[in-house]
Symmetry: C2
Subunit: 147 residues, 2 copies
């Protein structure tokens, strides 16, 4: 079970170089339910997500590099590429800040994952977060893959 | 975790009409690891199996009919079609007896699933079972999809 909120960000808010950064590429074989392939640095995985917005059931299953490259030939729409910065917050939560590359640039999205729904509902976003798009399917990566 | 043994069968051993029968079609998006789509009567699912022969980790995840038909356009090799008869044994175990259709006919395979490895190793097959092909990748459905 994954409980998260997602926000648009209008501009890069501060120097990101001190933060952990992973290069991610991902594509979709199906969007309802989500069947996604992803390369996250040197890790390759297949992800299945049941339907839903804030709360979704998620399985992350390992792929070999070869099976990833094979499945990548089967994706619908575009391959999404982004740099993901992990920014710790004072309350112990972490922001995953996605800087999209390629033809989705200069899109910026911030996601925060929560241990439970109460924490998610009580969350006060930092001032540099923009519009809350948690309940908008428009900024799902699966939608962005088709945009 | 799935623990099973698989046997070739040379001919249909007795009248199968009293037994529960499901019509199955399945295809593969990847073989190592296995990423399989399957229609089992009116159920549609995506299956992931880690690598291995007798013991494999397996996840069965629901698909809609639409997502199944979409993913079916992406399979490698042939779509496997078969009728699966479930035949109970006196010891409480069940035989899944697969009668392959299409260009894999007249192939017949019997599979028995076990609660643990000791039961699997102690299993005495019925006289109508042929060659034990548990440890042969040749009769994996993923191999048959490419044959």
């Amino acid at each position: 079970m994954e409980i998260e909120r997602k926000y648009l960000v209008n501009e890069i808010p501060f120097d990101l170089t001190p933060y952990l950064c992973r290069h991610i590429e991902q594509g979709y074989l199906s969007t309802e339910p989500v069947v996604r392939i992803r390369q996250d640095n040197d890790n390759f995985e297949l992800t299945y997500k049941s339907r839903g917005l804030m709360v979704r059931e998620e399985y992350n299953l390992p792929l070999t590099k070869e099976s990833y490259l094979h499945l990548r030939t089967k994706i619908d729409g575009r391959l999404i590429t982004k740099d993901r910065y992990v920014i710790p917050m004072e309350n112990g939560l972490k922001i995953e800040f996605d800087v999209f590359l390629g033809d989705l640039a200069p899109l910026l999205l911030a996601e925060v994952e929560f241990p439970d729904e109460d924490t998610a509902n009580a969350f006060l976003p930092p001032a540099w977060f923009g519009e809350d798009v948690t309940f908008s399917s428009r900024y799902h990566n699966s939608t962005l893959s088709r945009a």
